[in-house]
Symmetry: C2
Amino acid sequence: MLNLVWLKSFVAVLDHNGFQAAARQLDIAQPTLSQHLQKLENQHGVLLVHRGRSGCEPTRAALTLLPFARSLLRLEEQARSSIMEARLRVGASSNIGIYMLQPYIRRYKELGVGPEVDVVIDSNPTIARHLSDGELDVAIMEWWHDLPGFHAQAWRNEPVVLIVPPGHPLARRTDIDRDTLSNMALIGGEPGTGTGRLLATYFGEHGPFPTVSMQLGSTEAVKQAVKVGLGASLVLESSVREEVQNGSLVAIPVSEPGLSKELMVIYPSSLDKHRPVYSFVGHLCE
Amino acid sequence: MLNLVWLKSFVAVLDHNGFQAAARQLDIAQPTLSQHLQKLENQHGVLLVHRGRSGCEPTRAALTLLPFARSLLRLEEQARSSIMEARLRVGASSNIGIYMLQPYIRRYKELGVGPEVDVVIDSNPTIARHLSDGELDVAIMEWWHDLPGFHAQAWRNEPVVLIVPPGHPLARRTDIDRDTLSNMALIGGEPGTGTGRLLATYFGEHGPFPTVSMQLGSTEAVKQAVKVGLGASLVLESSVREEVQNGSLVAIPVSEPGLSKELMVIYPSSLDKHRPVYSFVGHLCE
DNA sequence: CTTATTTATTGCAAAAGGTGATCCTGTGGC
DNA sequence: GCCACAGGATCACCTTTTGCAATAAATAAG
C-alpha cells in the first residue's frame, strides 16, 4: 500500500528539483528524504528520479506516477479537512443556551482551535433524546438522571431567583425567606428542568411546599406570564438578567441557604477521550 | 497525514459491519484493526464508529470521511498499477532483436509477472545513445566498451559464420579455415557491432587479415549484397538461419577455434536493483 | 588539486506496527 | 436473576520502521 508521506516527498523532490530544497520545504532532514525516495523506489522496483548533480529528473515511471501522486495528496488534504470540519453539536435548553452558553461559545471560537460548534437549542427532554440518539455530542442540562453510557460533569452552580412583576407585593424585598416561599403559588417552568426535584430537596419531602399553579413550556413563556401578573416563578438568575435591568421583572434571591441548580455537562462516554468534546468540555469547565 | 492502511481498515469495518469480519477479510488480527480505528479516531479526535453489539454504525464524521476514503483507496490502487504498468524498454540491433530476442520476450510475457516489454530495434550506435539518455532500460549489444554507470553482463556466445551465395566457390565447404578466411575480401556489416574488433582478436594484430571491401548499414543489406554475388560476409549464425534453410544463402562455420561474438546485456547501474530490469535480465540469463 | 555542494550511507534511539492472550461488557437463553 | 457467549478493547511483547545526526562519497567548479 502506498505511503502518502513518501509520495509527498517524491512530489516535493521533483517540484524543488533537488533533495535539499525539498527537505527544507517539508521541514525534514535530507537523509530522511533520501530514504523516502528509496523506499518508494524499492517498494515498486522502479527508479523514479535520476539524481543528477544539476537537479533531479523524473524517469518515465515517475512521470506516470506523478499525476496520481498529486491527486492523492490533494484528495488526502480534502479528506482531512472534511474530518476537521465535522462540527461539534452542543445541545442546551433555551435559557442555558441563550443566556449562559453564548459567551463560552464565542470565546471558544476565538481560540481558533478545535471544531466549529453548533448550539442546538431545544426543550430538555428533546435534548436528552437527541443525546442518546447520537445526534448531539454534548449537552448542558439543568437536571440529569445518571444513565449508563454517559458522563455527567458538574458545570456551574447557578443561583435560582424568584421573579415577580414590578408591582408585586414582594417586589421591594431584598430576599425571600424559606417560609414565605413555601406558601406561594408558583408558575411552573419547562418540564424536565428538575425544578420539582430542586424544591423537594430544598424544602424536604414533608414540609410545607410551594404549589405549582400552572406549567408552561418554556422559560420565555414563564417570564411573560409573570410580567403580565399571572404570578411568580423560580428561574435561573442568568435568564432574567436583562429583564431585571430594564425593570420589566424583579428578581429576588432566596435567603440562605440559597436556591441553586447544579448545571451538568453531559456527553456519551464513547466520546470520552475524543478531542473535540474533550477540548470543548475542558474549555467550559476550566 | 492520513494513513491509507488505516483508512482501508476503516472502510472495511463499515463495509463488514464489524471488526472481526473485517479483520478476516483483510487478513489481519482483530486487535490490529481495533488499533487502526483508534489511531484514525485519535489522530483527528473524532469518533468514527459507534461500536454496538449488533454491528457498527458510522458516526456523522465517518459518513463525511467515507466517500473520501473510498476515493483515496481507489486512486491509490490506480496509482500502484500505473507504476506496475511502466513498460520495460529493451533495445537491440535488428539482427539480435529480430532473430534472437523474440523467443525470450514471448516466454517472458507468458510468465505474466513483471512489466510489459517493448523492444526497440535500432542500429547499435543509436541503441547505445538511447541507453545513456535513459530512453532505454536494457540493451543487448554485440559489442560494448565498458562505460562507468553501466553494467555489462555476458549473455550468449553466438557463433559467427561466413555467408556466401549458393554458387560461390566455397559454397560446398563444411568449414572455413583461418588461412582461407584471412585472404578473403569481406563485406563489412553494420558499424558498431564490433566485427572489426572480433577479427583483430581472432587473427591477431599483425598476421594476414581479411580485407573489408564495403561497409553496409545493416545486416539485411549485407545479406542482400551477398545473395546477389557481391561477396562474402561474417554474420551471426542466428540471423541467417532462415536463408540457409531456404537455400538462398550458404553459411559456413569457421574451423576451430570457431569465431563467435559475446553478446552483452547492458543496463544502467542505477537500475541495478530495480525489479523490472532485474527480473527481465534474470529471465534472459537464467 | 582543492573546495563546495549535493546525495547516499550508517548507527542508533525512539516510535509504530502486529499479534496472541486476556479482559470487559452488553446480549440472549434459561 | 444468572450464566455463558460474542464482539471489541486492552495488554505485553517483539519486530520493523522511522527520523536524525554524523559522516561518507560523488561531482562540479575554482
